[in-house]
């Protein structure tokens, strides 16, 4: 998505490749002892009243902030290094000639791992179509790439637990696979602008540059600096909201409109979420507030997925190459998938 496009190219100091390998175990140790450390600080050193809500809020904030940042830094670093092994060109090669359903599964998986930004959506789309990759497979890629996001994954894991994170990732993947497959079955080729098929793409002439392991470590570090510097404020805000309401009895004023019992809460969440666009980190404070006020997990997740997975700016870009009916089909299919996931969550929990 837009925020993944790195617009910073100032000279960064090259780091030694072994530094992450020293820092990661160190971070793991801090992570492991964090809860005990914070408890010791809050109850023994500061002597705060154990039963008060304020103490709980302070403890929550002091514990969750470093926890989430450690997780975020490590995961973004690892994903950054992994992504240096992937490129849209390689992904295209891998997807060429794959049968429909297997192609959808692969495209969705590669959508998560391939470095991709919305400003490249058009050349990527044309590049895929040019080499004969079916439209349905291309759409699986385009759905998965923004929807499953490492920052969202870390935050869900850190703030709501591993089950929520896992459900988000697996259902997101499923939505990408199935919506691409459905779009493929609908035979929508006629809704692509004619000129797209007439384009004769040249051969990629750039020589494969040798990427050393040190370069990959550098790529991971750059990703950390780039992403953390952009999202830290949202994360602190999210944790602060969480801390402020932590331990207090929820007012449940959201429960009536986004609670489990209101069947229309999921469609409503998606309807509001689709035109909105925010980065994954920005949505977490809102999610935190919604959940604390009694919104159900299904409705809240559906809201998050529709905000980060479908957005107006992306549709405007795609409109240049595909006709309106296909945009409508694309949004409806993905939104339906998100709604099904929302309903499922509401039934399970």
């Amino acid at each position: 998505m837009a925020e993944c496009c790195n617009t910073n190219n100032s000279e960064t100091k090259k780091i030694n490749y072994y530094i992450p390998f020293v820092l990661i175990p160190f971070a793991a140790v801090i992570y492991f002892f964090l809860e005990r450390g914070v408890d010791y600080l809050v109850y023994t050193i500061l002597q705060l009243d154990k039963s008060s809500h304020l103490t709980e809020a302070i403890r929550f904030f002091l514990y969750d902030t470093p926890k989430v940042f450690i997780l975020l830094t490590v995961i973004v670093f690892v994903v950054g290094v992994i992504r240096s092994y992937f490129s849209p060109e390689k992904t295209r090669k891998a997807l060429e000639g794959k049968p429909l359903f297997a192609g959808n599964v692969m495209a969705a998986g590669l959508g998560i791992l391939t470095p991709f930004c919305t400003c490249s959506a058009i050349p990527l789309f044309i590049g895929f179509v040019e080499s004969g990759i079916p439209l349905g497979v291309t759409f699986s890629f385009l759905v998965a790439a923004p929807m499953i996001n490492e920052v969202a994954l870390v935050l869900l894991f850190g703030l709501f637990g591993w089950k929520t994170a896992l459900l988000y990732a697996s259902t997101g993947l499923l939505i990408a696979i199935l919506s691409g497959w459905v779009i493929g079955r609908l035979k929508v080729e006629r809704f692509v602008e004619e000129w797209v098929y007439e384009i004769k793409a040249g051969d990629f002439q750039m020589a494969e540059q040798k990427i050393t392991f040190t370069d990959r470590i550098q790529a991971g570090t750059t990703a950390v600096v780039d992403i953390v510097s952009k999202v830290w404020i949202y994360i602190v805000a999210g944790i602060a909201i969480g801390a402020a309401v932590h331990g207090y009895v929820p007012e449940n004023f959201m429960a009536s409109i986004m609670g489990k019992d209101a069947w229309w809460s999921v469609p409503l969440a998606v309807l509001i979420g689709v035109p909105l666009y925010s980065n994954a980190a920005g949505i977490i404070p809102i999610l935190q507030a919604l959940l604390e006020k009694g919104a159900s997990l299904g409705s809240a997740l559906a809201f998050m997925m529709s905000v980060i997975g479908l957005s107006l700016p992306e549709m405007i870009i795609l409109r240049k190459i595909i006709k309106l009916p296909l945009i409508v089909i694309f949004i409806s299919v993905v939104a339906t998938g998100i709604m099904i996931v929302g309903f499922l969550f509401n039934i399970i929990y």
């Binding site: 617009t7 000279e11 990527l124």
Partner: protein, 78 residues
């Protein structure tokens, strides 16, 4: 020397153009710089990620933003 920046007007693409202009100015190399926004022309180079940097009809970078020093090397080494 002919330098093309391929991009459809995203923030990263504009930043690349700025950096290229600065590199050309600082190295004093005689170069024509053009920002190509026509998707058909962009695809003719076979790139799938923008911004891309073309120097004398050769793709030297795609999908990333090279640093000023890197660009100077790319235009200076010719």
């Amino acid at each position: 020397m002919k330098i093309f920046i391929l991009g459809m007007g995203c923030a990263t693409c504009n930043k690349l153009e700025d950096t290229v202009r600065q590199a050309v100015k600082e190295t004093g190399i005689d170069a024509q710089i053009e920002h190509v926004t026509d998707i058909k022309k962009i695809m003719a180079y076979g790139v799938m990620t923008t911004p891309a940097l073309i120097i004398d009809e050769k793709v030297v970078a795609a999908g990333k933003l090279p640093t000023l020093a890197d660009i100077k090397k790319m235009i200076g080494g010719k």
